[in-house]
Symmetry: C2
Subunit: 390 residues, 2 copies
């Protein structure tokens, strides 16, 4: 089968041939439908992040995937089930964090991350996984299920941030997302489609016309241009924020978040920056954190419970949002285009390894159910794009 990998011997991602994996006991064989690309993939490609599996000369990429059960093996899954896999795995099988269902809280060095750290990812025509690391999702999400993983990261961050405010009455009304990349926009879609926040804002640094600004505004949020309004000036230009999600990886934003928070507010940090020295008024920041009961919460990864709530959430997102967010889906033969992110019109890209539609019809012999929303509409858009890109 074909797989997209990084290798010690070559630059950039390459297409390699690998044997189709055989499921071990407890594992299912999954036919990969689509794999999404994110910033972590780019970091692995440029060598700033990631680890090869022990003793191997390549790492199969892909940690945002949706697939269909091809062979359920000894598991309770059924052939044709649509699944999306979680990312972390226990290398030795014995980890209290994994036993608790909280691999997202496992300390560095005690886990592999498929497609990222020490374990092959899902960017191949087939992959195997233990069934308890596979979230079953509705077939209506078969095309977009690769968004469950990044959206689960949003849910984990929201959960951590909200619990940090749970010892008192917290009635947030204003939220700000720092960053208009795909993760930031997923966070914004979550915030604007729940009832919690009355006013949402998203910070970027792009000129109009811009498709992310269009999405921000269509979601009912306010676009803030960081070149005009730096993070710490947001309270005076707009308002103080009860919740801020940092999804930029730009460290000065993480610290200026403290100034942009309202009293009792919380900032969730999701970006993973490299070392960067800069000066801060640490006294003022420390003072502000204390005197206004503010919090900064780092959050990484997610677990099965977040995959489940993210799946529910994804089903409530408006069709136009998902259609606008996923700017391109490429066939495997043109996978390299999915890694181009120079274009200002690109937001989220994916690669289609197997077409879902035909398999669905052959497996299930039934039409779309009423819960599938406008799946046909998405298919139509993507099939057109596939044709354009193919």
């Amino acid at each position: 089968m074909q797989a997209i990998a990084v290798s010690r011997d070559s630059e950039g991602p390459i297409c390699i041939e690998k044997p189709r994996p055989e499921p071990e006991p407890g594992e299912a064989l999954i036919q990969t439908l689509r794999v999404g690309i994110d910033g972590t993939d780019h970091e692995i490609i440029n060598g700033s992040y990631g680890e090869y599996p022990d003793g191997e000369d390549h790492l199969v990429l892909g940690h945002e995937a949706v697939g269909m059960v091809e062979d359920p093996g000894t598991t309770n899954l059924e052939r044709g089930d649509i699944v999306t896999p979680t990312v972390r795995r226990s290398p030795n099988g014995d980890s209290v964090y994994f036993d608790r269902g909280e691999p997202d809280m496992a300390p560095e060095g005690s886990y592999h991350e498929r497609g990222i750290i020490g374990s092959h990812g899902y960017f191949s025509e087939f992959f195997t996984s233990q069934a308890h690391h596979l979230a079953s999702i509705p077939s209506s999400l078969a095309q977009v299920g690769f968004l469950v993983e990044p959206l689960s990261v949003v849910h984990k961050a929201i959960e951590l941030a909200t619990s940090s405010r749970s010892s008192f009455t917290w009635e947030p009304t204003a939220a700000l997302v720092l960053g208009n990349g795909s993760l930031g926009l997923l966070m914004l879609a979550h915030l604007t489609t729940t009832d919690t926040y009355k006013r949402c804002y998203c910070l970027g640094r792009r000129d109009r016309p811009d498709p992310t600004i269009d999405i921000i505004e269509r979601l009912g949020a306010t676009y803030i241009d960081s070149r005009e309004t730096p993070v710490d000036m947001i309270p005076s230009a707009y308002e103080s924020m009860d919740f801020i999600c940092e999804a930029t990886g730009y460290a000065p934003h993480a610290f200026k978040t403290v100034d942009a928070l309202a009293p009792n507010g919380v900032g969730a940090l999701l970006g993973v920056p490299d070392s960067l020295n800069f000066e801060i008024d640490g006294g003022a920041l420390h003072n502000e954190l204390v005197l206004h009961n503010k919090a900064l919460i780092g959050s990484v990864n997610s677990n099965m419970s977040h995959f489940e709530t993210a799946t529910e959430d994804l089903r409530t997102f408006p069709d136009w949002f998902i259609d606008s967010l996923i700017t391109d889906v490429y066939p495997l033969s043109k996978f390299m285009h999915a890694f181009d992110d120079d274009d200002d019109t690109t937001i989220k890209t994916a690669v289609q390894l197997s077409a879902y539609e035909e398999r669905w019809w052959s497996h299930r012999k039934c039409g779309w159910t009423s819960q599938t929303r406008a799946v046909e509409g998405w298919n139509r858009g993507w099939i057109e794009r596939l044709a354009r890109n193919g």
Copy 2:
């Protein structure tokens, strides 16, 4: 009656004469037994913090107090009840934060703080307070009830920090207190007398022999000299910490806390520093917060629920600890000595405005109950010190 105040016209605290207050409806008149001194008092005296009450030329100090009900007025209190007052008050009487019992979460500008911001404190022979701002405490704590307020600040911080870790299984074993002042030592006493932490540490910058180091070690904790082991080196020299409480007001400590935390750890910040510019590796700190799910939580003030848990906690502290922590109790005639903190042997000082013992016996006509622990022992020690200081 006599009161200790700061005035626009004079330097340092002065003793003034004021009329004895009359309780308004809903208020009780309290005879002040003892008032504790802390760093905030020193900041008010040196002019770096605090606000005079509107239109007044002086501010009566004192926000850590214990007293006895002299006139319960229309309240449900009884004459002779021992009480300790909370600090924040709503200037206009209409505040959603106060209505919820969460004045500690009220934003700046929406509250007064008695003895600190805009409202006279308790450093006078009598004071009045609405009954719902008075925590009733056992008479066994009549001598040391002024510790309930600072200990309630510890409880509030613990509650905020713990709730921030409540969305996952958090099993902390190692705790570190930054700062060996009275607040840090109260936090350490709390941490070492609960079952949560197996190993506790306390950071200071003092040479042996030193009474705070003696207390730290007698509590079963390990003393860390910051001159030998800076905060960010603590993990390599000792271990990573699940919980860190910063009680120094030294801003670089707040940021280095991130490096000293174990994965999934939380740092509670209590210090209130002034502006201080310094350089940080903000990228590394941000990265560390995210990749290890770490949190920094600012915490200020406390509410009645924290006064209640602090009261219970104070009753479990070993007698020797309280006796060692309160290094001096001065009579009102020598109140100035209570503000001397140059001496390395001084930890916590208080001023006695009225002797509890006599009043107790005349009011209640009963002996110490079995729950009062070694109150007589404390009295003896303090009476000796009063004699020495008087």
